[in-house]
Structures are given as C-alpha cells and as structure tokens.
Symmetry: C2
Subunit: 325 residues, 2 copies
C-alpha cells in the first residue's frame, strides 16, 4: 500500500503539473481562460491515473500515454461543466461552477472546447493506432447516454434496479473502462490484456458508484462535506433506494414512494429512512454488491504478468472503495 500511495502520488503530480499548463498561451483568452480555470480545479485524477497504470501494466510507459491521460481528464471535465449547467449546480469542489462564475454561453462553449482539446491531446499519443480513438469515442457516447438516462429517471416514476445499473454503467463506469482500454491499447497491450483491463475499469467504476450511494447514508457529514442523506433529500434514485423499493411493504413502501412523488424526503425523515434501510438490509446489500463487483474486477487482473502491477490495481480498487467520502 505504501508503494501504491507513492506511485499514485507521482502520477497525480505529473498530471496536476501538466493540467496547470494545458490551456496556457491559447487564444482567445475568453475561451481558454475559463477552460484553464476548470482544468486547474483540484481533483483526484483517478481517470488519468487509470490510463497511466494500464499502459504500464502491459509493458508501456507513462510517457507513452501522458497526452491520452490529459485527454481523459479533459473529457471528464467537459462532462462536469455541462452537467453542472443541467443540474443548476452553483459550486463544485468548493469553487464556483463555470456558468455561475462566467455565464451560460461561456460554460457551454468551454465544455465544447474541452472535448475538442481532449481529441487533440489523444491524437498526440496515437502513433497511428486508431483503435484508441474508437474506445475514446465509445466512452464519450455512453457518457452522453448515461446522462440522458439520469435526467429521464428524475422525471419518470417507474425505474427498475436494472435500469439504474445500466445508467451508472454508462454515466460512470463506461469512462473508467475507456481509460483502462485506451491506456492498455497505447501501452501496446494484447487484445486479452485490453479486454481484461477494460473489464476491471468497468467493474471498479460500478463498485465506486454503489459505494458512493452507500456513503451518502453511512459516512459522517463532516467527511462527506454535505449532509448525510443528501440523496434522499434531493429525491435522487440510488442503489439503496431501488433495493429498498424492492423489499419494502405496507407503510414503509408508501413512504419510499412518497419520495418519488414529492421529489425528495424532508430533513426530519432522514433518520427514519436510515433505520428503514438498515432494517430492510439494503445497506448490507450494497456492501455485498460493492464486494462482489470488486472481486470480479480483481479477478480480471490474472491476465497481467507482473505481480507488482497486479498489486497496484488491487490497491487502487481498495483505495477507491475503502474511502470515507
């Protein structure tokens, strides 16, 4: 784990340093200054790290994929900028969102140019390997589809757990899958390696999202940086919510359904729902699902040759899933 932390830190520092510069010197400033503001926002840089680790694990180097790594972070930030507009979010990571700091037009256009710049950066690492662009584009399309499904679910009453899993698969897991695929392809991996790492990325992405849903109830408010039960307050449909809907009966079921009708729970109801989730066993269900997905993800690593790389991916999964916020 110490080795992992050191390596992750090194990769992140490399990325952070470059992200501070990527938009420098580009004109017009009216476009690239807001783009720089976003790229400099602090973040975990999980996605570029996935690209770098994947390249390394199949015999390539970080340098082989450094632009591709920046590209996936740009793509990720493109989604954040546009999603924040759609969600009417005023802040992100403690900073003003772009459409608040500037205006709607600037935010739309900055998102667009981040995506364009992502393709520009990706190209620099292709060395004629068009397959990486295919995976990149597939990931992008799925992210758009996932966001559209997520918006649908806010409006539609009836949504199933399976549909929810499809949605987070596209909105969250497709991107981490793509990161691993692009890293493995540009690192020179075999088809089997590309597939195994893609699966790893997808499964870890799903596990990450279910864990996120769980933390909304189980984390402390101070670690979370927002009130416990925020998803319930917002009426957000989560893994816990769908599982509870499946299991609850009578008054309990009615109160869950009221969250849909009222588009959210009241603050004074949070402890009732927390108890309900506990009693129905859905917190436990979520923990089991996270573990199942993680185990399946780790199972994919058998294809890798170097035990050291396997260890890094195991530590990465653990770091993502044993977090407290």
């Amino acid at each position: 784990m110490e080795d992992f932390k050191k390596l992750y830190g090194e990769a992140k520092e490399k990325i952070d340093t470059l992200l501070m510069q990527v938009m420098n010197g580009r004109e017009p400033a009216s476009l690239y200054q807001p783009a720089g503001y976003i790229m400099e926002s602090p973040g975990k840089r999980i996605r570029p790290v996935l690209v770098m680790f994947s390249a390394k694990a199949v015999g390539g180097s970080w340098d082989d994929v450094i632009h591709a790594s920046l590209a996936v972070e740009m793509l990720h930030n493109f989604t954040l900028v546009h999603d924040d507009i759609m969600d009417n979010a005023d802040t992100r990571r403690g900073r003003q969102t772009l459409h608040i700091k500037y205006d709607l037009s600037t935010a739309i256009l900055t998102g667009d140019v981040l995506l364009a710049a992502a393709y520009e950066y990706l190209q620099r690492d292709l060395k004629g390997n068009a397959k990486a662009v295919e995976h990149f584009t597939k990931g992008l399309i799925e992210v758009c589809e996932g966001q559209s499904l997520d918006k649908d679910f806010e409006i539609r009453g009836e949504v199933s757990l399976n549909e929810y899993i499809e949605m987070i698969g596209k909105k969250t897991a497709a991107l981490s899958r793509m990161c691993c695929a692009v890293g493995a392809i540009l690192g020179g991996g075999s088809d089997a390696e590309v597939e195994a790492l893609s699966n790893y990325g997808y499964l870890v992405g799903l596990a990450f999202q279910v864990q996120d849903d769980l933390l909304d109830i189980t984390a402390d408010a101070s670690a979370l940086g927002k009130p416990v039960g925020g998803d319930l307050l917002e009426g957000k449909k989560t893994f816990l919510f769908f599982k509870a809907l499946e299991k609850a009966t009578g008054d309990d079921l009615s109160s869950l359904e009221r969250i849909i009708t009222n588009k959210g729970a009241k603050p004074e109801e949070i402890s009732y729902f927390k108890n309900l989730y506990t009693n129905l066993g859905v917190l436990e269900d979520a923990r089991i699902e996270v573990e199942r997905l993680t185990n399946e993800a780790l199972h994919q690593l058998e294809v890798l040759k170097n035990p050291k790389d396997i260890e890094m991916f195991i530590s990465l999964a653990n770091a993502l899933l044993n977090r407290t916020k």
Copy 2:
C-alpha cells in the same frame, strides 16, 4: 452547370436519405429523438457535398467518404444547436430550435452527442488514416474559437477588419476547409491535392461569409426571408460595417459608432445606412473582395487532373456566391 446541378442533387439526396436514418434505433429516445429532429431539418448539405466532391476529385469515390460526409454534417449541426442557445434563437430554417422545442438540458446534451456521433461516423471511413481525425479536430477547435471571438466582438467596442476576417475564418471557413481536407485525405489524395483543396475550402468559406454580409443589404427581403439590413438592426459587425468604419468621417462616422453604442440601428435608419454604404463604396469593396477570394480559390484547382472535377468545383463556388439569399 447542368451537370453540376445534377451531381449536387444526387450527392444531396444520398446524404438526405441517410440523415433521416442516422439516429434511428438508438437508445435512449430522450437523447436520439431530438438528435434526429435536428439531423432531419432541411439544409443545403454543402459541407458533406464538399467532402464527397473532394474525395472524387483525387481519385476516390463517394462511398469512400459517405460516413465522413455524415460526420461533418453532424459536427455542423452540433455547432448550430449550441450556437442557437447562446444566441437565444427561437427558430432556425423555419423550425423551432432545440432548446425551445425541448429544453436547455436536452439541447446541450443533444449537441454533445451529435459531436460524439460525428467522431463515431468519421471513424468508419478512416481505414487507419488518423490524419483525417487530426484535420477534423483542428476544424472543431477553430469553430469553437471562432464562436468565442464572435461573442467577444458583440461586447467589445473596438474590433478591426483583420480581427473580423480572423473570426469568420475560424467560425465559417475552417469548417469548409476541413471538409475538403478530410474528403481529399480519405479519397487518397496526395499532400499537394489535400493542401490545394483545403485552401479552396477555406477561401470559398471566407467568400461565402462576405457575400452573406453583402446580401443582408442588397438582397430583397422576400428572397432573404428576413428584413433587409437585419445585421444593422441587430448591431452585428460585418465586413461592410468594418469597411465603412474605416472610410467614414464626420457625422457619418458618428452614426456608425452609434450602432455600436446602441447595439443596433433603428428600422427608420436602414435606408440612410444603405445609402452611406453605397456612397462610401463599401458594397463595391465587398463585391471585389468576394471576387478576389473566389479567384484565389479557383486558382487552387490547378492541381486537379480531371477537367470535369475542376468544372464541378468552379460551379460549386459560383452557386454559393451567385445566390440571392
């Protein structure tokens, strides 16, 4: 010219037929139905035709670039959807714009997925030729930069004619250049052919825009489908306006400057400005500039081998520039 009309018609029909289908059967409908609505909107399809003609002119076939042709039309429509939001436009080509027919979030996301689908379609014609993606991405970035400059100019008082030419170069001409480049590359053209056709596309794009500025004053209202002098009413800075600013003195200069201050002219002032433009000779300047750009564009065609292809590109330029609306 008859041959040209026939050929253009055939290319357009091929594109129109495919555009009716490109978004069919894709899920979720909440995303691809609005995308289909946009792709089915009638249009001249100049950009895909440029791709197809360019491929043909260097020895390739329309079939070699049919997906790339659809891709540039998707990219173009992505810019329209997002620009219409930024411009608060309610209608386009006589149909409701997307953010009016649906809502803001749908319009943003539909634009995004059109761009993503554009890359997906482009890939289908690449056959390992990553250079076409480079040109495609460069065109995309320039379009974003051009749109940003255009927004800047609405706010900034002082803008020069040179800056205006840079802006339309990016916002309009970069895309027609890219269409010719992509077509020529995927059609198997030599570097010299790719460069010459790219230049043709760029110069014709610039000429098209200056002609557009000119038509705002010289066309009749019925052909234009909007009031004559619409650019003046909106305070839009055009080739005519910048030329007039350079040449006018005294009261005439003051009245031009008032358009900037008041963000537009009054309807009763249009005939005064039309006379001013005529007297200052800026309508003539614009005509000369269109002719100069067109001649320079046609000069590029010398590289082509087949006289028939040269004729098609000459007719295309003439059709674009001798239009009445």
